[in-house]
Symmetry: C2
């Protein structure tokens, strides 16, 4: 479908604000909704100067405000989430509230406004610890290993039930980790700022051999826009990622090379960085590729572009703390 | 594991009250917790005379009451749920609150009490409209087709995350429909009472050819007790059902034969009884059979025993209304 006026939850966040810019550039009206718990007004500096852009500060759990803000939109990109994957067990209610309940409120606000098209940012973590690599969308029924992924799976189920029960059209994207401009959490962020403070030493969680796949933010957004434009049928589920993987050790090497430092490296040990961390994520992306998409940037490009952005925007670390 | 003191949520319900009786007969202490939204005190008449039984009236969303009531137990059977599968779209918040949120509160109350063993009544409906029959536990990643099943899947995910994150031991049972004494909802109930009122005519949703599998309540409870006793490892997921299936038409024939009536039958038409209804449910139960379980009662036995119980307990229809 071709949306005319998109409502973007988490519109001031990493992925959300980049999507907002791309939608505006494509001539689409945009309303961004964000509670600024992790988003930044600075990410919307360009958008705020655009006549087709509107920013609403609000919380997804405020059903009335959400319903009102959504009025007039014809499609929803639901990107707002608690993305603090690692510390789920420190506050188990957070993923439930900010992901599962928030998604329910988005769906209900859509229903109240007669909006039926929804794109949702899920995660490759819903595959738990898969036995099939690269992991396709229809791999064996997975077991959840983190509160974050469990909450994202709950969101997927809700969306699917609204597709069947209320005639919604849903697009679910299962991401690998995303890198690029406005990236504000994850290991490249942590390693960069820790090495800026202390170039002598770096301690790595896990054994450094955890394999991960990353994709660049612009490739990620291109894939979402293309899927919404081209995928037919009431429900479309797509893995988004690149075909290669790297070890955490490899990204550490790129980061130290970029910074020109040679820290003493120590490892925590163990296959996982933390409880619920997947030691290996590698998604089968043949389904989205069959629509005509392919990533234009390598993992290394993504890491280096992220580092360049962090270097140009050191304020993001202070403001995030 | 061998629990000494079981906490049974939904203990006054169909499956819960039957489980309570079996646990007490096996010498296990039992605390039943129920808000009597769909349970009946009459179902616990026998249990209430037993010295090892305690009934606590309370709601799962009342976190403090739940935590207090659970104190002293060493294992939880979480059976309470909104089981109104069919009308989920009439009140989408109900499945979210009574299933997803209630299960979260059960898990948090367990954590507060240092209880780690949990058995959970999920549903074969989490398989959506499967492409593999009979459907095994590790069938391809399913798509949800009802708010009820979506909420049960969300519960499964939460339990799995607590297994990984908090060292819980979880037993998840995916049921077919269950029949037998104290059965208070579903098509056998509806057809029985409608034919008692009007033996001349019966209208059937769908085309009557929807295939379903049913299991008897006592076989169901035997399977759960056996799995908790014998299955090892932190997480066990079992389908529970029988190997044969019947068409809705077949159970109608048994019911009319039992009642000695010959109504004019009419069909709504369509493959599904309602939106989100699965036209065919047939679970692969090899996994639970490998532990030494097999059902002792046929589907026909289950239907006839249900009818005999409804005949002896006509109050259940009036009280449910």
């Amino acid at each position: 479908m071709r949306p005319q006026h998109c409502f973007v939850t988490g519109g001031a966040g990493f992925i959300g604000s980049n999507l907002v810019d791309r939608l505006l550039a494509a001539g689409v009206r945009v309303t961004a909704y964000d509670n600024f718990s992790t988003g930044f007004r600075e990410f919307l500096e360009g958008a705020l100067r655009h006549p087709d852009f509107r920013l609403v500060e609000g919380d997804l759990l405020d059903a009335e405000a959400l319903r009102g803000a959504m009025a007039g939109a014809d499609f929803v990109y639901h990107l707002a989430a608690n993305a603090d994957v690692r510390f789920g067990t420190h506050h188990p209610r957070r993923d439930l509230e900010q992901n599962t309940l928030a998604t329910f409120e988005v769906l209900e606000a859509m229903r109240a406004n007669g909006i039926r098209g929804l794109a949702f940012a899920s995660t490759g973590s819903v595959y738990g610890e898969p036995e099939v690599f690269p992991t396709p969308e229809d791999c064996p029924f997975p077991v959840q290993t983190s509160l974050y992924a469990a909450s994202k799976l709950a969101c997927e189920g809700l969306i699917q039930a609204y597709v069947t029960g209320f005639g919604f059209q849903g697009y679910i994207f299962r991401f690998v980790s995303v890198l690029g401009e406005r990236y504000t959490h994850g290991h490249v962020f942590d390693f960069y700022f820790r090495l800026k403070r202390n170039p002598q030493a770096l301690h790595i969680l896990g054994d450094g051999h955890q394999r991960k796949s990353y994709m660049d933010i612009q490739d990620c957004i291109t894939a979402m826009l293309l899927a919404v434009d081209r995928a037919e049928g009431p429900l479309s589920i797509f893995n988004l990622g690149v075909d290669d993987t790297i070890e955490v050790n490899q990204s550490v090497a790129w980061i130290t090379e970029y910074l020109g430092v040679t820290p003493r490296l120590t490892c925590e040990g163990g296959r996982r960085g933390w409880i619920g961390d997947s030691p290996f994520i590698h998604l089968d992306t043949r389904k989205i590729r069959a629509l005509g998409w392919s990533p234009e940037r390598s993992i290394r490009d993504g890491v280096v572009r992220t580092l360049a952005w962090l270097e140009a925007n050191p304020w993001v670390e202070r403001r995030r703390a």
